[in-house]
């Protein structure tokens, strides 16, 4: 091949890529609500991770003389039943809840993608075994499964992350499996195999990129689900343990003070709802961006 022809092909490729990118951004611009959701998430992340640099009140310092106080200049959201600053705890709790949510999503998605991918790619006996296991995990209501694991392995934050991730790997595996089965049948995959690509290479370089958009959508919805689950678990006293704050465990004691100070129960829940809502809206917007027909 001459250099001229080579550069012509390269130019054609560049053009195609540019056009594709332009189409992608056009579709992104048609999702203003999704963009707002992303902005909300960025703001939230900045608030909980960078906020403490500006707002230096310690989240775990108790103050017996200032219990259940109304908002003041020193405590913009008041204090809780141990005199701890509610704003500082909301920020600290957000750090924990967001981290647990994100990491649990990574765990669930990793297991789900691996299992679903292998089952969908190799079919046959692997598929039978993996998909039956998926059926089993789908038959156990998530929360019961999580209770079993937490009871057995305790509630160290790492355990909580893995447990919540295990709670939804089966759903992930089911979707990834279906995608792999579909993509596997395409001609370009067959061509790659015919050209001598190994199984791992075919899976990673040819099939996987087609599955990524679906996986991103699932990941976004998954973080929302993981945050909700961790919150529920911590609210019940089985997740993240005090004094480490999480949005869920802040609600645990708040219920005892509903008659005295209902606001205590409001703030953490508002943050959970806003965060999960943003992840869900983002997930739906991403789905529309990647699959405009749907």
């Amino acid at each position: 091949m001459s250099d001229a022809a080579g550069s012509l092909i390269q130019a054609g490729k560049d053009d195609a890529r540019k056009a594709q990118r332009a189409r992608f951004w056009r579709r992104v611009r048609r999702q203003p609500v999704g963009i707002v959701a992303l902005a909300v998430l960025v703001l939230l992340a900045a608030a909980v991770w960078l906020g403490p640099l500006a707002y230096r009140t310690a989240p775990n310092r108790t103050d017996a003389r200032n219990i259940l106080k109304a908002p003041t200049a020193a405590h913009p959201l008041g204090t809780d039943e141990l005199g701890r600053d509610v704003l500082a705890r909301v920020l600290a709790g957000g750090r924990v809840s967001l981290s647990v949510g994100l990491l649990a999503m990574v765990v669930g998605l990793a297991i789900g993608t691996l299992a679903g991918g292998l089952a969908g790619y190799f079919r046959g006996r692997v598929e039978v075994v993996v998909m039956r296991l998926v059926d089993v995990f789908m038959a156990i209501p998530n929360f019961f499964l999580i209770l079993v694991v937490v009871t057995a392995f305790g509630n160290h934050p790492v355990t909580v992350i893995v447990t919540v991730g295990i709670g939804f790997w089966a759903q992930m595996a089911r979707v990834v499996h279906a995608e792999f089965v579909k993509v596997r049948g395409f001609e370009f995959v067959e061509a790659a195999r015919a050209l001598g690509a190994t199984h791992p290479r075919t899976m990673l370089r040819h099939v996987m990129p087609q599955v990524v958009p679906q996986a991103i959508v699932l990941a976004s919805l998954g973080v929302g689900w993981a945050i909700l689950t961790e919150a529920g678990l911590s609210y019940l006293g089985l997740g993240i343990q005090p004094p480490l704050a999480s949005w869920g465990n802040m609600l645990q004691n708040a219920q005892s003070y509903l008659w005295l100070k209902p606001e205590l129960a409001i703030y953490p829940g508002l943050f959970i709802a806003a965060t999960v809502l943003a992840f869900n809206v983002l997930g739906n917007a991403l789905r529309d961006v990647f699959d405009p027909r749907g």
Binding site: D135, V136, V148
Partner: protein, 315 residues
């Protein structure tokens, strides 16, 4: 049809057996395992006696064998903390969970069908957007927090409804009193389950609307309402039926937390108490019972599905 039923029942049994294997070994192979649960507050001799009494000196496989044989016969062992048979504890709580779950399921299905139909009829209009907002909220708001907010609003501020429990001590358990206690937990649970039904109803109706027979019905000049209810709706109900299996699973997960918020003495609350007290036989029993109900409901859904749509039988 018989072969189909037999195959499905056998599959259900296999899944349930695997559920028992997974949950049992998760617990019994954990570091320390059940024996760790009875270590506190007991002397060495007491500990020894307890370990022997609960059969924890046997190797795990033997333990599993004994447990599963007992379970099949209806003997789920004895609660570590309460000293009562696990089966008895589960049966005390099951009716309460079924009441709450059934009420929530019916409410979620009716509400979901209504909203989903509205969204499909007024597709892309403001009604559709409102419905989609409501259902995204239902997916995003933590059920337990919604429960707390409902308690603040309806029990603390307005004093319309009781904050917790299943009957009031003074109400002597009249039907009205029981219903008043049911409203908040069932309503909150229904709100978190409803989005599933809304989404499926909407997309099923839109799908059916594209079908030839609906176009024909419209083409021969039938009123839109007649087309919707006589032609479209009946067929759209099939996928909605299918999602009820999924909703039942979610129902059990949701009820665990909701029962705790409202002090509802159900299966979920029992599981939480067992988890907090490391009462392994109880948590195993509760999980297996929840799994059993999920499997049975999914089996019924499958059978109904096959009865409605004959193509399924010959997969």
């Amino acid at each position: 049809m018989t072969a189909f039923i037999v195959r499905r029942v056998l599959m259900g049994v296999v899944v349930l057996w695997l559920v028992s294997v997974v949950t049992f070994f998760l617990i019994h192979l954990a570091p320390g395992g059940p024996s760790a649960a009875i270590s506190f507050d007991s002397t060495a001799e007491q500990r020894e006696a307890l370990l022997k009494q609960f059969g924890l000196y046997d190797p795990p496989l033997v333990r599993y064998g004994k447990w599963i044989v007992g379970t099949v016969r209806g003997d789920l062992g004895v609660s570590y903390n309460q000293g009562l048979p696990v089966g008895q504890l589960l049966m005390q709580r099951l009716p309460n969970t079924l009441t709450l779950g059934l009420a929530a399921l019916v409410a979620a299905t009716l509400l979901g069908l209504l909203l989903g139909t509205l969204a499909a009829v007024y597709r892309n209009g403001w009604v559709d957007h409102v419905v989609s907002t409501i259902s995204t909220l239902g997916m995003s708001i933590p059920g337990f927090w919604l429960g707390i907010v409902a308690i603040i609003l309806f029990a603390v501020q307005l004093r319309w409804l009781p904050a917790s429990g299943i009957v009031s001590s003074s109400g002597a358990g009249s039907l009205v009193d029981r219903l008043r206690h049911l409203v908040l937990p069932a309503g909150v649970l229904a709100f978190t389950l409803m989005p599933n039904v809304v989404r499926v109803t909407r997309s099923a109706l839109l799908e059916v609307n594209r079908a030839d027979y609906v176009r024909t019905a419209k083409g021969k000049g039938l009123a839109p309402g007649t087309v919707l209810f006589k032609h479209a709706f009946k067929n759209a109900l099939v996928p909605v039926l299918a999602v009820l299996g999924l909703v039942t699973t979610a129902l059990f997960s949701g009820s665990v937390v909701i029962e705790s918020v409202f002090g509802w003495p159900g299966l979920g609350r029992l599981a939480i108490e067992a988890a907090n007290g490391r009462d392994y036989p109880v948590i195993l029993g509760a999980t297996l019972l929840a799994g059993l109900i999920v499997v049975v409901v999914n089996l019924l859904v499958d059978l109904l599905y096959a009865a409605v749509d004959p193509r399924i039988r010959h997969e």
